[in-house]
Symmetry: D2
Subunit: 334 residues, 4 copies
Amino acid sequence: MKIGVVGFGYWGPNLVRNFQSTPSVDGVVCFDTSEKRLQVAKQKFASLETVTRYEDLLRRDDVEAIAIATPVSTHFSLGMKALEADKHVLLEKPMAESGAQCEQMVDLAAKKKLVLMVDHTFIYTGAVRKIKDMIAEGRLGEIMYFDSVRVNLGLFQHDTNVLWDLAPHDLSIMDYLIGQDPIGVSAIGAKHFNDMEDIAYLTVRYNSQLLAHFHVNWMSPVKVRKILIGGSKLMVVYDDMEPSEKVKVYDKGVDIKERESIYKVLVQYRTGDMWAPKIDLGEALSLMCNDFVDAIKNGRRPTTDGRAGMKVVRILEAAQQSLRAGGTMVNLGQ
Amino acid sequence: MKIGVVGFGYWGPNLVRNFQSTPSVDGVVCFDTSEKRLQVAKQKFASLETVTRYEDLLRRDDVEAIAIATPVSTHFSLGMKALEADKHVLLEKPMAESGAQCEQMVDLAAKKKLVLMVDHTFIYTGAVRKIKDMIAEGRLGEIMYFDSVRVNLGLFQHDTNVLWDLAPHDLSIMDYLIGQDPIGVSAIGAKHFNDMEDIAYLTVRYNSQLLAHFHVNWMSPVKVRKILIGGSKLMVVYDDMEPSEKVKVYDKGVDIKERESIYKVLVQYRTGDMWAPKIDLGEALSLMCNDFVDAIKNGRRPTTDGRAGMKVVRILEAAQQSLRAGGTMVNLGQ
Amino acid sequence: MKIGVVGFGYWGPNLVRNFQSTPSVDGVVCFDTSEKRLQVAKQKFASLETVTRYEDLLRRDDVEAIAIATPVSTHFSLGMKALEADKHVLLEKPMAESGAQCEQMVDLAAKKKLVLMVDHTFIYTGAVRKIKDMIAEGRLGEIMYFDSVRVNLGLFQHDTNVLWDLAPHDLSIMDYLIGQDPIGVSAIGAKHFNDMEDIAYLTVRYNSQLLAHFHVNWMSPVKVRKILIGGSKLMVVYDDMEPSEKVKVYDKGVDIKERESIYKVLVQYRTGDMWAPKIDLGEALSLMCNDFVDAIKNGRRPTTDGRAGMKVVRILEAAQQSLRAGGTMVNLGQ
Amino acid sequence: MKIGVVGFGYWGPNLVRNFQSTPSVDGVVCFDTSEKRLQVAKQKFASLETVTRYEDLLRRDDVEAIAIATPVSTHFSLGMKALEADKHVLLEKPMAESGAQCEQMVDLAAKKKLVLMVDHTFIYTGAVRKIKDMIAEGRLGEIMYFDSVRVNLGLFQHDTNVLWDLAPHDLSIMDYLIGQDPIGVSAIGAKHFNDMEDIAYLTVRYNSQLLAHFHVNWMSPVKVRKILIGGSKLMVVYDDMEPSEKVKVYDKGVDIKERESIYKVLVQYRTGDMWAPKIDLGEALSLMCNDFVDAIKNGRRPTTDGRAGMKVVRILEAAQQSLRAGGTMVNLGQ
């Protein structure tokens, strides 16, 4: 099988490089509207094939799957055309501009029994997989909160705000780890240079006392990528800026000694060991590419399928609505 | 002049110790409802006088000023009685349970020309004073955001939630540094053990693109006390957990190269030096006590007067209202 | 039993405070040559007795033990007099100016069956005790190296160099943890302001491939207190500047796969979890005082007895000799 | 001009990549004894020429310069042959196995007026260049000490010990920054797995109170690359593990108030601001390649010429001698 990679911009070269070394992939064919970029691509990757028209890519029978790494505004039209041409589709995050667009693609892929996947790369990191394992084994207990900070200086985008740029990473991690369906979203932000928010705070509410909160910021002097997860049994700090000890697990919490009423509770602090489990530092993108190809070969769902991408986009869409309304809670009708 | 200290619990001993070494203070008289605590106080402070009835304290002519370090629910009644007895008053934070209570005390103090002060200790730290100087000199440029995180494990309180417990520190710092009048407040939170929020996020809005946000949390495995201030010229990180370099100033930001329209802005990143100015690490509480006594002696306003305390309580009050309403923005009528 | 504390300078007040709350201690009597310092002592500690002549202290029958917190040059004469007066003796570190002085005190104490102890406070910290437990259980495997860095700005001393000032801490920790007898010592250093070394490097050699090394420095812009211990099974980093996670244990090392000859060894790296065991953060000095009093009461050896103090002084003495000789190895005849 | 790169192992590919984009370089010709590695090289670098015999490389007139990235034991013979064939030569560090070998190459290059350079890459980093500028401007004052720590887990080498593997980096940095001629060297180390030291401490002495010390270690659980430089006016911490603020400058030190005699000096601590100057984070290797080519074109000395390489090897040689002798000081005859 060959893979078509659409767009040789910021992320496309990473896809080409990884698909070239993915088992069962016989070759990569790259499409870009810019001849110049295709020339760069050929210099960089000796055995790469290129095409200058999307139709030429879709028409090829040896190209079974299409990976789309173009601006989000083009995802829907490129993705639908690929599905209609019976290609399996991998989309960069965020999946599309609206939940409705996502839903159409999910439905078409389901009808045609094609794999539809979104590249939520972080899900494939050793750190996130390690945390997922611990949650799945019940070691964290009940999750009380999920607090994420992803801030740094730039990069300003002209076609998207900081929420759509940075929050998809953390929303996809949250969805993967927590697995529950949120019921409401609120967001606030501010703009300082153009009509796009460069700082935003996002809250996601669940049908429980679980509270999820996200701080995304293009105007921070320091780079922070940190997620705190408070469980009733263990607590986790996932700091992606740490070179090796990215995940720290704390045997800290509160033991309830007596509960006469909701007003009278005797709590006692628990402070035990901290440990940093060994994390697989292999390239997440390589695992993601493998998952895509393997899902195609075996006719199964990939870990981050179209539904996962749609959930993230629906939260972003509701958050955008809340931003415009000054921060009111927007319900997520499921 | 002698100072009456009311309440020998968690904070009272610090007030006694500091007032005992404040110039112009001839002695400290301590009142507490517990005879046992007063005995402990006498053992700890050899020259301390004690009284077992509040009235006895207020009746003494040599006691010109009263410092109140009792639970917040008693601040208003104790404070009003002291003002009525013509005593200058220092109140621990938060000043009172409501803006209305604060206002009554402010009005009475003004009428009687008495000093009314709130112990917002952080304002007197070398770190906050250094940042204030830089802002006052215009070195930060226009303030774009103020982001504060104050989280740790415990201490759970039975009579207050995490917002009223931790946020007064950061709200008082914000008010001192920013100096503008907020127009609205929203807050969200969650409860996991009793009927008090143990985690909360608070947003304060201004009549500009300045956005202030606060994360307070009693359930964090790590202790964080960090404030980011984004200015158009310089950015500041104030990390109170750092032993010496508490304030870091970054010559980082965005230079606007061209602004054709709000949609088309050419921004360019600026990354220069970072520096950590030398910070006075002297005890802030000692400076606060001096400010109180000096204000009394010279008939002037202290830095953190009743109005400053009232502003913080009004924000907390509005935040509490927002919390109950699920996070809607609550206007701060000025 | 009452305890006599000699010297109310930098460390004396800590001894008074801790002995006053040590079980079985009925009172503390303080001796200092300065009347002024004794007055300060009385103000600070209400129930403290004071004497102005050392003989008066030694003559008192209710004073069973003497704790000496004076400059090191006085330790021997004050200590010998106390032992001759049948008092148990606690000496601050370093124990004396020479191994010969230490030996005389050790011998006299043994003859008189008196407790002779040296205040190597760090041995009583939760961090060092935790590491000791792990080593004793064999969890670290064979110890390959012990690397210590204790550097900061100042305090310059006029009567001692940086080696005698700072290294006793780390040498006592090493001796406690490793427990082997060193065979040789070398040291190099430099002087920049007076005739005392302000920076020094010390190496301690054993009858094995274990290598111990110490960096002490009064001229460092940053404060570091860090010990690395390399074991064949586990490795430990003990960072005393960390507020809570002072001890980190690494499941890292080298597994030898094949060993054809000493020239041909196939090693394989092992990288597993890191963990920070919960450390008792209680005051070490309080435990030390308890150990002293309990050793007296039960006629047993304290953990850090005169022999432990003597070992440290002998290393310092040899190091001083090496320093003067430009760094040659000085044998430690046992 | 074309450049011949000898050896396509660990470092060779970096040289090929950088020389391919160095101005004035028309092409790169790679020689390796392994046909397989040359095939890999060709796949990776499309326009790369390869030869399978060293003589073929030296015989080519279009190849003006040879960059040698092979094991150190081959440096001398390969380097001499290249110089004899009238090629300019760049050698990886360490330059050769002995000072005598270095001297022969330096002499031959001088006689033939060829550029002889050693790839001390760190000299070309923004961090080291920034520190050099500050020292050159006299801002640090007199340098009192240079303390370097370069430790991590592995990589074990079979043909060299930890000293020859890691110390060349720090010795070349020291030589570049300090610029003085050392007079003596001592070193101690230990072996735990084969006949090669895996931990070593190296001291370099000067004709002054300047003291330089190096800790290199293959058996550390944590990776540290940190250099402290104590100047009489300013002090510097260069931490290469910091992602952006690699150099921190401290306005800390000691002011001498009075100096009656060397025994009586009144010193006073000075603690001012710390700052982290902006560092050029561009690739050092690219600058090194440019320096080599530019030196050839303009017939000038490169920054890290043969003499610089020889100084480092002479220190290593003396250190090795000291290691074998158990740590005695070995004089560096100038």
